[in-house]
Structure formats: structure tokens, C-alpha cells
Amino acid sequence: MLNNQGRPTGVDNVTSSSAVNGAALLPSEPLIFEIGTKEKSGVDLPALDQNVGSKLGKFARKSDIDLPALTEPQAMRHYVRISRLNYSIDAGFYPLGSCTMKHNPRLNEKMARLPGIADIHPLQPQSTVQGAIELMEELAHWLMELTGTKAVSMTPKAGAHGEMCGMMAIKAAHEANGQSHRNIVLVPESAHGTNPATAAFLGYKVKPIKAREDGTVDVQAVKDALDENVAGIMLTNPNTCGLFEPDVIEIADAVHEAGAYFYCDGANFNAIMGVIRPGDLGIDAMHINLHKTFSTPHGGGGPGAGPVVLSDALAPFAPLPYAKRDGDKLTLVENKGEGSDHLGRLSAFHGQMGMYVRALTYMLSHGVDGLGRAARDAVLNANYLKAKLSDLYNAPYGDQPCMHEVLFDDSTLKGTGVSTLDLAKAMIDEGYHPMTMYFPLVVHGAMLIEPTESESLHTLDQFIGTMRELMEDAKAGNVERFTNAPMKAPMRRLDETRAARSPILKWEAPTQQKAAE
């Protein structure tokens, strides 16, 4: 999540210069523009037929594009080399809270590459893609059964897009009911940044709701904030502090009583899938991040998929397209019918089929029994970390069990000269990807650790050993180990301030650079 706060670094604060461990296998690699050539190509194509005329007319390109090429061996080496500069879940523990970095089964990848999946066009006749629509229908059935809802829109392309979908449905429902004056959305302070951003995007005023001492939402605060101008509430459950909202049903009832709707951010569904159905809690809309909960890979930042389950009240406002079954024949309804309440399109075509097939493969592999076990394991793993670390790290809401992630604050680092950011960077030197830092915002110097069900007891014990040793070392005054970290990564700390102050967002040839100066 948000890991770019903390002490700015700079070229000037160099305190030591040590050889990077493993440098022999991690050479720095130039950019393609520095090693490629314009004369060659890594792709062979048949010669052009000189007898065929051109229909480009005056539009034919006259100027150079300026793109270098790498032949295939050069490309393999370039990308393999830079890939080795990345941390990944396959290579190590990635306890990034709120991001659900779980194992990505390779069967998913294999299935996504079947010609009957990868090589079908969204606009070829629907009679020729019945298997694809059936796959969407089957995945929709899983999502509705797991959430206890009766409608789902498959189209959103990521969690934030799903939020947009759900909130637009809420807005449309209010408009249809003559309630378009409702212009306020309640958002707890601990919410993901996407929640207020989505509400604001749709023209809503965001009203923050304070958390109680125990990290959960205060029902009374919600009730006090509800009036005839509130369109809905956006609530994450389990919440971003890693806690189940105990009063969620009472909150849902109050929201509905006030004529508003309940949007649930489903980012943390991994803690409860197969165990608790959000539909039973009174939600009206909830997105599900297939790339978190259902293991479609994160791919260095996407693509994702964010289907949204909808309550009966919001189902008529689902966006296009949606599937319809008539006996054996499946149809994707792609256009708005006369008098239909459906939102229009949120994007071209039919959503993220490549992600659907991966998610369905994962669900079928786990089965409903396995998904429930996975959720319990994720919760068990997080509580085990909490139990084994709470004497050295302060869990601000530690007197209750956490869900699938455990939240610590930085109070035990106080006076050491070591910040959450420094601790995180020191974890890199120990071979771990840092946890989510400085989020949620309701806790000082937050450290949000999500182990997922994919980690073994052995891995957790090693991690616990490292985290204990780090805290002890910080308290013992070995500050440089932290403030200079990472020392053993492919790079030392990067100067983010410099990057933002005078942005260089594109490679320029050295001569061009000179001319620009």
C-alpha cells in the first residue's frame, strides 16, 4: 500500500559504501535505449508485396519514432537481468498488509493460455463463445454463493473500478427513487484511499467517521452522522486495522433505516471467505479483488479484476454487460434496453476474462472446503504472529483477536532514532519484503502485516526471529543498521524527493539531454 512516506534520502547523506551482496548475479543493466539499435529487429516478418497499393495517403508517417530493437537473445538477457532486481512472492515472504500476497498457482496461468480462452475476441458472434460466457456465469455463481448475494457485476477491472461501479449503482438507485439530493458519503478514517477518492469522483462530499478506542467503527457516530442527505457508507470489513467490525449488522440496519446504502470494501475478503457471507451482514454492494483473494497474480501492479456483488435493491442498476440464460443458450446483454435502469458501460467489452479463468481455476482447486480452511489459516497465521511479537511490538488493538492481518504501531521504537520506514528497510536486508507502512492512518507509524494462508509455520517462525532481533537491535542503539538500510539490496535508498521535484519520466539521448540544459 503506501510506503513512500518517511525520511527523504539524498546523494549527500551517504554514510557508507559497501559492496552489495550477490552483486555477481545482479549486474546493473542499461536501458533498452542504451543497448538496442534501430537497424535490427527481434521479429522476422515476410517481405512486403510491392504490387499492393497504399491507402494511407497523406497520413503515411514521415518522421522517425525513435525506438531501438533488441534481438531475441539480447531481449532475454535484458529482461531476465532486470527481473532479478525484483522481490516476489515466489522468492520470499511478502507480508504486505491489505494486499493479500498469496501463492499464485501455475495451473491458473496454464488455463488462461488455452486457445479457447486467450484467442477469442470479445466481439466475435456470441454463438461462438458460449464456453466463455458459461465460465463467467460459473464464476458469478461462486461469488454469489460465497457472499450470499443474488447479483454480481463482473465488469470492473480492479478494486477501485469496482468501488466506482458500486457507488454509481447507489447513486443511480437514489436518482431512480427521487433521492438525488443525497450528497454525503460516510467513510471511516481507517479506509483505503480509494474509498474517499471514489466518493469524491462521483461528486459526493466525504464525511469521515471516527474510530472507537478499540479500532472499530462507532455505531453511535454512524447514527449521529446519518440524515436525509446521506447517500451511503463505505465500510471495509474486516477493516484495515485487521479487525472484524462487531456492530456491522447494526450499522447496516441504521444505514438502511436512514434510506442510505451500505458499500462494503471487500479488499479483506480473504479473512472470511467460506466462513462468513457478507450478504448476511446487510451489505448492498461489495467488490472482490480477484487478484488478492483469488490469487490471480499481481503482476507488478496489475492487471486486476474487481467484480461487484449487489443486493436486490441495487441489482437493477448493474452496469453493462450482463449475462442472461435461456435454456442452454447464454447471452451477454451488451446494450441498454428501452426503459432499463442499468448503468451504462464502465469500459469497452466484457471485463477481465483472463482474470476470471484464473480465479475460477483457483476456486475449483480449493473447493468451498479449502477456501474456508484457507481463510482460517490466514487468520490463524496472523494471530500467531501477533502472539509471538506483541511483547516487543505494540498491537494497539491487541486485546482482541485480529483477522488475517495484524497491526502494530511504532510506540516501542520511541526514543530509538529508528522509524517504521527504517525498520522496514532493515527487513529488506534480512530477506523480507516489508509490511505495509504508515497505513492505516489512524495509528502512528503503522505496520500492517498480512501473512496469508500461504506461509508455513516454519517461515513464520523465521520471520518472528528476525522481527524480534531487529527490535532488540534498535533498542540496543544500533541505529545505523536501520537508517542506512538497505545495504544488501540491489540499490540503496532512492531519492524520491528528487524524483518528484524535477521529474525525469522518459529516457532522452545524451545529446538531447545536453541541448535541454
Binding site: L31, G116, D119, A348, D495
Partner: protein, 446 residues
């Protein structure tokens, strides 16, 4: 349960350490009446081969592009993806990494994004590009909102040549805004969009090659827009075209957005794809999405970071430029690797090959009695007017295992004047035999 590493003994060790007897105690704050009560109507876990058999059985019901002649385009295109591209994007380090928030251990993704941004900027003729958006249609929508923020004006004029589903996507976000003006469907690039630009216009949205395949001259539109203080948003759905035609940047576009699927990414029924967005440096601070920038590390070595994040939702919350969090990283990687393999010569050759096969197809079809090619200039896609409704003809040809193209009526239903129009695309994968097959079969069914 092959994905769960802990044994029952391991779990017991953990329960003992936590001080609980059963996992259920961890869910103590969940209201009793909703805890573990439902029995979903879903199967239990299955071995890998059983799952594979099930998915294969679904996939077999679909007619794959490679199973016969294929002329479907209209925003997604069937191109060859080199084997090395798919191999490289499946490397664990790319596939199973998160967003590069820890730059010291994410330089692979970050360097790739910096290279990607440069490729996209050069290809579109712009100075800056972002690290990708969901797809072309949402990129177009984001560009419209970006232009409105920059100009502090509401007026949006959309060309009748814009992909109808892109237009509909923008329309969904803008709602019933009276400042949103869509030109009528314009299959022959005859509209007078310049007449619609006035002092309240924030942006004009024009696609080239357009939905019907026409190449459009952006220069006069850019000039007219700039004269009124408005921005030109240039859209493309076929990025390969930029290897053959003058870039939108060279024609005066202010924001260029488009679909990057054609390079490196398979069709996959419409997603995931990769939205491209490029612009001028002075407009960057209102640009949505992630951006990667160059910097140095504590030892002065060149490195890359995500930057300008003060625009983004995780910092700005309700004041962010967009609610976007996830982008299309792995698809951007596939794009970038494929583009690196192609290079300048390769993309130009590929583009001209696409054009050549489309010209051949158009020439062959125009010789059929009653079939008229509407376009004067096109890239790898064009529109034909048939003597009767296109949709049933496409179905009839599909029966003969020929996927003939996209009937315009599928995206523009109920418009009588568009009913007979068929949009046909050819790529480097279209063979001369495919063209013969389409021509002969079309003769039979009309």
C-alpha cells in the same frame, strides 16, 4: 489441499501459542447468527487434473481465432505474440511481485515501466506517458476528466468516429451532463466537428484510425481547439497503426490515449488489456495513474521510483486526480518486451504488412456485386456496406467457420442507416487464403 502448507500439528502449535482451543475463537467478534451458518452450493476441492479437464471443456466450446479465417477487430486485434514475450512475463519476479512501492527491491518492474513510458511517448509523438491504465476505453474517460480539470470547463465534444463503447464509457461517467456533446455516427469521416468547438469546450475527442477504419486529419481539429483554448484528445484502438501513420503528437494532440493490447497481449475475450496515455510535460500534474521517474540512490547510482504520487488516492484521498490504484503492469510489460523486439524497423514493417493485408481484403471484397468499401483511407480495418443487414450475414458466415468482422449494429443497435455496415480487420496473421475464403463465402450468403 495442495496450496496450504500447514499440517494439523502445525495449526495446533499455533493455537497453543495463541492460547485458543479452536480457530472459531478467533472469530469471537463476529455475530453468532452469521458465523459459519451458510452452506454454499459449491463443490469441494479437486485434484489439478480434474480442474484442468473442467476448464478445458469450457474452452473447447469457444471458436478460437486460429481455428479458421478471422477478420474481427473493432477495438481488439489478433496479432502474433512472440514466444519469448509470454515466457518472460511468466518469470516469478515479474508475475508475482506487487506494485513497486519498495524501489530498492523493485527495480525490475520500475526500469521496465520507465522503458515502457519512453516507448509510449515516442510512439505517440508526445513527451510523457504514464505507467498504463486499465484499457483504452477507461483511458479515454480519464483523459476527458483530466482535460476538464485542466481547463476548468465542462464542454466535451466527442467525434462520431469514436468507438461506440468508448463513447458509452465516457457517457456513463459524465451522466446526463448537458455539456457532453456526441456527434452522430460518422462512418465516412464527414462530420464538421470544428463547428461544435466553442469557448466552453474543455476538449474534443477524436479517434484515428476511427471505429470505421478511417484515417482522420487531426491537424485542423487541433488548431481549431487550441484557438478556443480547448484540448485535443486523440484516441486510437489499434496501436500498430502508429508504425505506419503520422503520430497524434505530430498532429497537435494534447492528450493521446489508446488501447495497447495489439502489442504483446492476446485477445482473451476483451481483457485484461493495457490503456496507454501520453501528454505534454506541463499537463502531467493532472494526469491520472502511476508514473515512474528516474532518480539516484544514496550512492549516486541511477534508479527508478514511482513518483508524483501527490496526485494519487493513497496520499490525496478525496482530492486525488483519480481513484485508480491498480494499473495494468503485466500487460504493460508484455507490450514493452514485444515493442523492444520489434523496434523501429519491426513496428514499421509490421504496420505496413497489416495495411497490405487489409488493402488486399478490401480490394477483393469491393469486387463483389453489391458490396461497397466506404473508406478512402484506412490502416488495417475498413467498413463495407452490404446489400442487406450485416448481423445475420456474420452469423451465416460463422456457420461456415469464417469470422467475418463486427456488424456495426452490434454496438449501435436500432440505427437503420448503420444496419448494413460491417467493420472488417486484417492483420499480419490474415493469409491470402483467408481472404479468398471470406470473399467466396460472402458471395454465397448475400
Amino acid at each position: 489441499m495442495r496450496y496450504l502448507p500447514n499440517s494439523d500439528q502445525d495449526r495446533q502449535v499455533m493455537r497453543d501459542a495463541i492460547g485458543i482451543k479452536s480457530d472459531d475463537e478467533l472469530f469471537v467478534r463476529v455475530p453468532k447468527k452469521v458465523f459459519d451458518t451458510a452452506k454454499p452450493d459449491l463443490p469441494d476441492h479437486q485434484p489439478e487434473f480434474a480442474v484442468e479437464a473442467h476448464i478445458r471443456q469450457l474452452a473447447r466450446k469457444n471458436r478460437a481465432g486460429g481455428d479458421g479465417p478471422f477478420f474481427v477487430g473493432a477495438g481488439a486485434y489478433r496479432h502474433h505474440v512472440p514466444a519469448s514475450v509470454d515466457h518472460l512475463i511468466q518469470r516469478s519476479e515479474f508475475l508475482t511481485a506487487y506494485t513497486p512501492y519498495q524501489p530498492e527491491i523493485s527495480q525490475g518492474t520500475l526500469q521496465m515501466l520507465f522503458e515502457f513510458q519512453t516507448q509510449v511517448a515516442n510512439l505517440t509523438g508526445m513527451e510523457v506517458a504514464n505507467a498504463s491504465l486499465y484499457d483504452g476505453s477507461t483511458a479515454a474517460m480519464e483523459a476527458v476528466l483530466m482535460a476538464r480539470r485542466l481547463k476548468k470547463r465542462d464542454g466535451v465534444v466527442v467525434s462520431g468516429g469514436l468507438h461506440p463503447q468508448y463513447r458509452d464509457t465516457i457517457a456513463t461517467y459524465l451522466g446526463k451532463d448537458p455539456a457532453f456533446k456526441c456527434m452522430d455516427a460518422d462512418p465516412q469521416a464527414q462530420e464538421d466537428i470544428i463547428a461544435q468547438i466553442d469557448d466552453s469546450t474543455a476538449c474534443v475527442v477524436v479517434q484515428s484510425p476511427d471505429f470505421y477504419g478511417n484515417l482522420r486529419d487531426l491537424r485542423p481539429i487541433a488548431e481549431a481547439a487550441h484557438e478556443k483554448g480547448a484540448l485535443l484528445i486523440a484516441v486510437f484502438t489499434e496501436v500498430v497503426s502508429l508504425g505506419a501513420i503520422e503520430s497524434p503528437g505530430a498532429q497537435g494532440a494534447d492528450i493521446v490515449v489508446g488501447e495497447g493490447q495489439s502489442i504483446g497481449n492476446p485477445l482473451t475475450f476483451g481483457g485484461p488489456y493495457v490503456g496507454l496515455m501520453a501528454t505534454h510535460p506541463n499537463l502531467v500534474r493532472q494526469m491520472p495513474g502511476r508514473v515512474c521517474g528516474e532518480t539516484v540512490d544514496a550512492e549516486g547510482n541511477r534508479g527508478f521510483v514511482l513518483t508524483l504520487s501527490t496526485r494519487e488516492q493513497h496520499i490525496r484521498r478525496d482530492k486525488a486526480t483519480s481513484n485508480i490504484c491498480t494499473n495494468s503492469g503485466l500487460c504493460a510489460l508484455a507490450f514493452s518486451i514485444h515493442m523492444s523486439l520489434l523496434g523501429e524497423k519491426g513496428i514499421e514493417h509490421l504496420a505496413l504488412l497489416n495495411h497490405q493485408q487489409a488493402v488486399k481484403t478490401a480490394d477483393a471484397l469491393s469486387k463483389i456485386d453489391g458490396v461497397e468499401v466506404l473508406n478512402s483511407y484506412f490502416f488495417n480495418e475498413f467498413t463495407v456496406k452490404l446489400p442487406k443487414a450485416a448481423a445475420p450475414i456474420v452469423e451465416a458466415l460463422a456457420e461456415k467457420n469464417i469470422l467475418a468482422g463486427v456488424p456495426v449494429s452490434r454496438l449501435e443497435p436500432g440505427k437503420k442507416e448503420l444496419e448494413n455496415l460491417l467493420v472488417i480487420a486484417a492483420t499480419e496473421l490474415t493469409s491470402d487464403a483467408d481472404i479468398d475464403a471470406l470473399t467466396n463465402a460472402l458471395k454465397e450468403v448475400i
